[in-house]
């Protein structure tokens, strides 16, 4: 009897101990997790999201000769709050053809760059993905190596080639293909060539990682069912690589719209790209409110593709997690 009572007490104690421990466990874990979440989350809220609110605020401000060079939206005078919303920057942007042309020119340049990168990048990504496994890694590394080297260096490399006194003109002249040097530098063409050069790896990498997953047996099955190679490419490979095409295109298009360095170094002074306009408003004209307004319009333009890309990537990651 005594023994039974004792053992009963023991087991009760054990159960109580277990309950206490589990409570501690359940309390401790979420706390650790929220800490882990809070650090990067807080960083991004503070340094990425919050700044956009300031950009928005300052875009409604007016330029002032002061430090910082804009008028505060909210002022206190005679114990009353004055809020001065200035829409002038935006009406200016939509009214002045300079800005409109710059936006349009940037979008067009980015779109053409994306298209050319796709046309060049697809065969390359496809070839590397279909290459024997031993060679695949080396080939991919060779494609990506320029991406690792400095962006500025890559742009600079083209300056020597495209210069009006540059190598390409020298070559063409010595081959007697032309009589006088061509104006290659500081043209739309030079911007276009360098843009494609700089952004090509961003297209190839997502295309490759998509195509490499494509099951080669699908193509064998298509061939077995009497499909000609080019037709099985159109009906099997291309549709299945849709996600890679979209991801690559977005990764090229979105940052290309706001490109500054390339139009600055090899572009024409007349046809501006919006990234350069923003830079000039900020650094040369010291017109911060205008630069902010230009930014807001650019973000508004790019928000849809960015969110679209993000949703697609999340979906494919969720699929990967399931397998």
């Amino acid at each position: 009897m005594m023994n039974r009572l004792l053992s009963l007490r023991d087991s009760r104690e054990a159960a109580a101990r277990g309950a206490r421990r589990s409570l501690r466990w359940q309390r401790a874990l979420p706390r650790g997790r929220s800490l882990v979440t809070a650090v990067p989350y807080g960083w991004l809220l503070l340094f990425f999201l919050l700044p956009f609110l300031f950009v928005l605020q300052i875009s409604f401000s007016e330029v002032e000769i002061a430090s910082p060079p804009y008028r505060a939206l909210v002022t206190r005078a005679e114990d009353a709050l004055h809020i001065a919303l200035n829409l002038g920057n935006f009406t200016y942007i939509f009214g002045d053809p300079l800005y409109f042309d710059a936006y349009l020119g940037s979008l067009r340049m980015a779109a053409v760059t994306t298209l050319i990168c796709l046309l060049i990048g697809y065969p390359v990504a496809y070839t590397i993905a279909r290459a024997p496994e031993a060679k695949r890694n080396t080939l991919l590394m060779l494609v990506m190596l320029p991406f690792w080297t400095s962006f500025l260096v890559r742009v600079y490399a083209w300056m020597g080639i495209l210069d009006n006194e540059g190598l390409l003109n020298h070559l063409l002249l010595s081959l007697k293909l032309i009589d006088a040097p061509l104006a290659l530098m500081h043209t739309q063409l030079s911007v276009q060539v360098v843009m494609v050069y700089a952004y090509l790896p961003f297209m190839i990498l997502p295309l490759f990682s998509n195509l490499v997953k494509l099951d080669g047996r699908l193509l064998e099955a298509a061939a077995d069912l009497g499909c000609k190679p080019w037709k099985s490419f159109l009906t099997v490979t291309l549709p299945l690589s849709k996600n890679g095409v979209i991801a690559g295109s977005m990764l090229v298009f979105i940052p290309a719209v706001g490109e500054f360095v390339i139009p600055e170094l090899v572009g024409t002074p007349e046809s501006l790209m919006i990234g350069k306009v923003l830079w000039m408003e900020f650094f040369d004209n010291n017109n911060w409110p205008m630069a902010a307004a230009v930014t807001i319009v650019m973000v508004a333009l790019l928000l849809v593709p960015i969110v679209y890309l993000h949703k697609r990537e999340e979906k494919s990651l969720a699929r990967a997690a399931k397998h």
Binding site: A15, A19, R21
Partner: protein, 378 residues
Amino acid sequence: MKSFETNLAYSAGAHNAKPYLQIVDVVKKFGDHTAVDHLNLSITKNEIFALLGSSGCGKSTLLRMLAGMETPTSGKIILDGEDITHLAPYERPINMMFQSYALFPHMSVAKNIAFGLKQDGLPRGEIDERVEGMLELVQMKKYAHRKPFQLSGGQQQRVALARSLAKRPKLLLLDEPLGALDKKLRQQTQLELVNLIEQVGVTCIMVTHDQEEAMTMAGRIGIMSEGQLLQVATPGEIYEHPNCRFTAEFIGETNLFGGHVIEDEPDFVRVQSTELPRPVRIGHGITGTLGMPVWLSLRPERVGVTRRQPVSHGNWAAGTVSDIAYLGGFSIFHVRLDTGKVVKASVPATRWREEAAPIWDEPVFVSWADNDAVVLTQ
């Protein structure tokens, strides 16, 4: 009903010994989906128990709740008198051998086995000693310093087993223990594994979808479907006396006939089925009422195939051979009855010593004994 009585006898046997692990009314819901549905189960000490079911039946969820990877929505899990329902996995005296083995790829075999012991803060000497013992037990001493990727599948399985036994858990969980091995190796390893577990003397619950594995290794089997245990019994009992249609069809092959009771006597019953030409006589009474709908389960190896019409009793039917699957030691005859129903009969090769085996489209008779058909009421 016989199967019911025997079932009772077995579960009484299980209850006589003190339950070591008790799963009490456990429910697990994922959103709207109920993975485990008010499940009760008791396991005695040193038992090897198999949870058998097809994928998605909730067996893995149940195992993960025992390991502590999932928390039950409601219900209790009691191990050796202690309520462990809400203990974290690392606080439970339970270890698991994972389906993919989940060996730590960056640690050697010895380090893998030592990992759990280190978490307990055992002195180094004792850790080394126990790792040594484990390596010896699974005959992997030679490979102590190899990394997992340098081992074959069978060797990895043994390391995983050693790792989960090293802490001397009160309960060992095996998740599809041999699922990753190829068929030949699996059959050989099944008995090896049972011997090891019995040698160590650990209570063990395994999850599998492979009935052969469950029947070879386990002392008792629980058939799971849609989050519930349909039948818990020994392998023989489950095969010979399934308690429901699902179990009868899930374990092995069977012929099922729907019908109803037309004669209910204390020592026999008759069941009329539209799929059979005449009422079937069952040689024992059942707990049921006259006219109740039932199913008859008739294992193929219980069905005889003859050219001559069977005499004496009514448990036979005429038909023609519609298909023959020759499997060496025996053949499966598909006999189409006049009612249209196809009956499968598994006939040993030795049956055809005196006469030639029937051929396609040959008229034959199928027959069975009074106690061969099992009456299923659900």
